[in-house]
Symmetry: C2
Subunit: 126 residues, 2 copies
Amino acid sequence: MVEQDDRLSRVFSALADPTRRDMVARLAAGDATVNELAAPYDVSLQAVSKHLKVLEEAGLVSRSRDAQRRPVHLDAEVFDLMTKWIERYRQQAEERFQRLDAVLARLQGKASPADERPERIEGEAG
Amino acid sequence: MVEQDDRLSRVFSALADPTRRDMVARLAAGDATVNELAAPYDVSLQAVSKHLKVLEEAGLVSRSRDAQRRPVHLDAEVFDLMTKWIERYRQQAEERFQRLDAVLARLQGKASPADERPERIEGEAG
DNA sequence: GTCTTGTTCAACCATGAGGTTGAGTAAACG
DNA sequence: CGTTTACTCAACCTCATGGTTGAACAAGAC
């Protein structure tokens, strides 16, 4: 919205498109030219070129020169950025889930769980 | 574009927005109501409600009922979907990189690497 | 019942994304 | 040189998205 401020937004946004994910999948098997990449899709070469630009600006691919060709190469490093973000919050959420489980188990022994309103387990959100 | 066909597109798309990623981060610390979630942002409650709808449709959060409140809960499972996709292609890309490294190392012993045009290492893309 | 609180729905507006076509550039080929 | 190949840039169209405001609904509080 702000014009895609941060790197992470650009990466997620780039991979939100099925065509672009498909291109990444293809590129994981080896570098390819724009024409080669365009072949499977029923869109213009220009559209593919645009997709590649998006992937490039997200840092997912880089392009070199080989005569008139512009071979596209997949850069795997950015994936780490996403993985780290995802893992971080997934782990937090799962830990919280474990704790909730424990709390519920404890409550089962003491009283009815209906008494409890587990909006916060022991954490803080602000 | 097609109207966000698959699950993966919805998840990536949902997380492409910094505000929504921020909400996910907040929710990783514990469930929260719409009002609580809206507090830090300078947008209307309705806008926040919309963001939550997007996160919900992506399967990232679920909403329950507590009187007039609609507590929002982070569902960590969908993260796996992303992680799997990412890891799959990252690994392929990295393996390819290893192979390229090996090829270059071999070439160093034989001839000048400038002779080689390594558009494909040994793979296929079609 | 009416009021207040919490949230969603509906209509609208501005911007951006993905698609198109047509022209322009870059480098090999003849 | 002009032509062909490979690609990008520019202008345009359409629709989705994120924001707005105002009204509606749902449920406790008075």
